[in-house]
Symmetry: C2
Subunit: 214 residues, 2 copies
């Protein structure tokens, strides 16, 4: 059966690939973005440097895989913190997002703050949203808030705005650690509370139907 053999091969290949992603993850976490080199990566899994190129087109490709993995991990962490209260569930998204970023600053920088001008081959714009499980769960929890009457407006627009503020908060705390933000946790909580209070007071229109005048 040639299919079975091919399947087994593909599986092995997928396994080694995810093993490489895992090693890259640890490498970034331990030594930072600049610690992630092809040679170190290969040594960690016991292969020659050039063998990495059998699984990834180039270094950018590794970074994309790392980003994908990080989004999945983040989504998993978020879903470990559910709540019956839709607002609390939404707050948990922000809290976990911040905890993820502040707990793994190196990886956060690598994944969320490095050039994404090139899309991985065969990916479209929509894939970015569809294939991003963390964004999906955020939108879902916003929808729950809208359904419960706690928020009003377009869920994707609200989710995007929350993402914007969350990202701004985390990345500033990471990039300018010496700026007197006060306690990082407290600043995250402040921004989260502020956003939830402010969003609940407005009707948020969709991102596409913004008034063009002015």
């Amino acid at each position: 059966m040639p299919l079975s053999v091919q399947r087994r091969r593909e599986k092995q290949k997928a396994e080694l690939r995810s093993e490489l992603v895992d090693a890259a993850h640890k490498l970034v976490q331990e030594e930072g973005y600049e610690g992630l080199t092809i040679r170190k990566l290969a040594k960690r899994v016991g292969y020659a440097p050039m063998s990495v190129y059998s699984y990834f087109a180039d270094k950018q490709d590794i970074l994309f895989a790392l980003a994908e993995d990080a989004f999945e991990t983040l989504a998993r962490r978020i879903e470990e913190h559910p709540s019956d209260d839709p607002v609390e569930a939404l707050r948990a998204v922000m809290t976990e997002y911040a905890a993820f970023g502040l707990g793994n600053p190196n990886e956060y920088r690598t994944v969320f703050m490095t050039e994404k001008t090139r899309l991985p081959e065969g990916r479209s714009y929509e894939d970015m949203e569809e294939g991003n499980p963390a964004m999906k769960v955020l939108i879902r929890r916003v929808e729950a808030c809208v359904a419960a009457g706690k928020l009003k407006g377009d869920p994707r627009a609200i989710a995007t705005m929350l993402w914007t503020v969350g990202h701004g908060t985390i990345s500033l705390l990471i990039t300018f650690p010496f700026y007197p933000f006060g306690d990082p946790q407290a600043y995250v909580k402040r921004m989260c509370d502020f956003m939830l209070a402010s969003l609940s007071a407005q009707d948020i229109p969709s991102l596409t139907e913004t008034p063009l005048h002015c």
Copy 2:
């Protein structure tokens, strides 16, 4: 007169240093962050690669100088857009900040999104705020809004929150250009309007006196 001689030397040194910063600025703008190399920098000012090390300790030091320069440029651009209406003046800060970031994405990335774990030698935390003219003008314009009764709370806290949201907006637009934000300008305006409306509805406490419970 040894003093005069020494002064002239210092001046020449400062001039070449700023010439190098200028060249670095152009290099980043033209070729992006990875286009900024010591060798290219030296070639651009007509010196040998190693001569750069007479003016900067290492590459990080160049990036710090570049950041300082960018902050000054940004502050200048903001102050070219004054207004009698304090809220409009504040809005101009956000607009110019966004225009700066979206117009020079390479430099924005280099200055605002790269590792700042190490402070330049002889700088303290306070210098970061004192020596940042862009932050200073932002705080001043927030103070004007507070004085006019348009905003309420601690000016530095309000300014920091505005910076957070502005940075989040710009960096997401830069890092994930394929995400369907809609028109970038419109998204910037949306976030700006949202923040000004939301801030005016609340009394913002200082960053240090956040409630510790919960």
